[in-house]
């Protein structure tokens, strides 16, 4: 099972508003709802088309009170996701994901559980592939252009409120303790990929324009970024692709009833290590992510670690 991976680790983002306030509640988007965001990646390293399932385990610690020594609560987020990258033609493809969230919060040994379908997202992508310049002294008999390995992707998508947003949970310090944000969010992405036979780079920048939900609650806009470096080690029956990456998110302040809430913005930078394993049509991936630096919700929420496992079937 170690093989499951993270797909491109594009930006791991915590979405922001996950916590809200108790004084500091903060985080919602950050956590539960963010697993569909760019910092977690929308696909596999090789940018292949696939359908698959992904499991993401994350945990957080939130200060439960307004004092420096206020007790901590521990939040564990298990996300089971169906995801896919479906080709439309040579230049266009669509990525989509639908998560099931299973969230647990442990405070003073009292456990609170929240589970259900989370927020789905769907993004349409245009991929621009760069080709090598024709060398006029060499005759290309095939007549086909040769790919240079460089490509750009532009994505436009939406995150849908398929998960339930519960207003009462915004009182938690970790606003991310929600299975959904209740809002329709716009997603704008641009990516650059380079891949040769032995080495590749994936980068992705995403901006989430957060909508307001029915409770007049609006998570702050989010900017996610991710870069992954991978290499390919061909074996007899499989292709091993280890990778390392950096990713991060910046969250704007949460707005409620048209007013901003204090200590609801933040940023996090993560480092990831993982690998993919391609065996025939199957791609297994695994990645482990640790925060390098973070300042979330007035430092009232701390991301501890993240594990991601996936199995994709290449189309």
């Amino acid at each position: 099972m170690l093989f499951l991976g993270f797909a491109k680790a594009e930006a791991h983002s915590l979405k922001s508003p996950c916590t809200t306030h108790q004084p500091l509640q903060v985080l919602c988007d950050l956590c539960g709802c963010s697993t569909s965001s760019g910092s977690f990646g929308f696909g596999t390293l090789s940018n292949a088309n696939f359908v698959g399932v992904r499991y993401i385990y994350q945990n957080f610690e939130s200060r439960n009170g307004i004092f420096e020594d206020s007790p901590l609560s521990k939040e564990t987020f298990n996300t089971y996701q169906v995801w896919a990258q479906i080709p439309i033609n040579d230049s266009f493809y669509v990525t989509a994901s639908l998560p099931y969230q299973d969230l647990t919060r442990d405070f003073n040994n009292i456990k609170e559980n929240l589970n259900g379908i989370g927020d789905a997202n769907i993004i349409g992508w245009y991929k621009h592939v760069f080709y090598k310049k024709e060398d006029e002294t060499v005759i290309n008999f095939s007549g086909e252009k040769i790919a240079s390995g460089h490509s750009l992707q532009f994505g436009l998508g939406v995150k849908l409120p398929t998960g339930e947003f519960e207003q009462r949970l915004t009182d938690n310090i970790n606003p991310g303790f929600q299975v959904g944000t209740g809002s329709v969010d716009g997603i704008f992405s641009v990516g650059y990929n380079y891949g040769s036979d032995t080495f590749g780079v994936n980068t992705l920048l995403s901006y989430y324009l957060k909508g307001e939900n029915k409770n007049d609650y609006q998570f702050g806009d989010q900017f996610s970024y991710a870069v992954n470096f991978f290499t390919a080690i061909p074996k007899e029956k499989m292709n091993i692709m280890p990778f390392v990456g950096l990713s991060g998110d910046r969250y704007d302040t949460i707005t409620q009833y048209g007013e901003t809430l204090k200590d609801t913005d933040g940023s996090i930078l993560n480092a990831s290590i993982g690998t993919e394993l391609a065996i025939e049509k199957f791609i297994f991936g695994a990645s482990y992510t640790l925060p390098v630096s973070q300042n979330l919700f007035g430092e009232n929420v701390q991301s501890k670690q993240r594990l991601s496992l996936y199995v994709n079937f290449a189309l």
Binding site: Q22, N64, I88, D171, L261
Partner: protein
Amino acid sequence: MKLLKYTFALLACAVISACSSDDDATSTEDLSGQTGSLTLKYDNGVGDQDFLFSTSYNKSNSESFKLDNVKYIISNVRFTDSNGDVFMYPTEDNVFIVDEEDGNNAGEIYITLDNVDAADYVSVTFGVGIDQERFALGAEGQGDFLDLADEKGMMWSWATGYKFIRLDGTYTTSTVIDEPLNIHMGSVGTSLDNYKEVTLDFPNTVLVRTDKSPEVHIKADIAKVFDGTVSVNFADGYNQVHTDELTTGIIATNISSMFEVHHVHND
């Protein structure tokens, strides 16, 4: 390609509609006749630390204190809305004892106010202790509060009146260790008036509605009792504060500076 174009057009529409907002819905609401409840959450701390019984806290002049009792009286709670109008909670019910002993597992003491007029409130005002007008109602006019205050040890005799704040514990200085510390500050009958009021602005508007019960989280910094507007020393007689005009007056002034609204929840 047609399908693609439609797909993108649809996505673009979804994105744009998602981002348009319909703000200011609250400003035009008709709130007349509507009431809701509002909770004040008092949370005692010492500086940035949560307050705990029997824990030693340092103050100025190399002195420290440990407390087993932290209680104070809050009264005359009222709220000012965004139009400048004031809602006063009914006088007969408008007096409370905040006792650390009654705190929940997070150490917060709740005062829940029902039937508050629906409005967009921007600040709260309350008194610490009992004002002369309420005291003038006589023992009969105090209602159930007299018994409560008695039970909580917040009374001297009726003639002397209420203790507005009660801190009991021990203190340590450079010369003595764990000597008794008792701060029992109040007015003294009608001859000395230590009642003071505090007005705190809300960091976000507090929306009281029939279906919304906002919470106001008030942080009370016990350190300010001794190191507030004026810094006082146990060694200089502030280890026992009872009815003395000078020491009670300074403690009353310090206490009126110990509150802040940390945040509010609109739910």
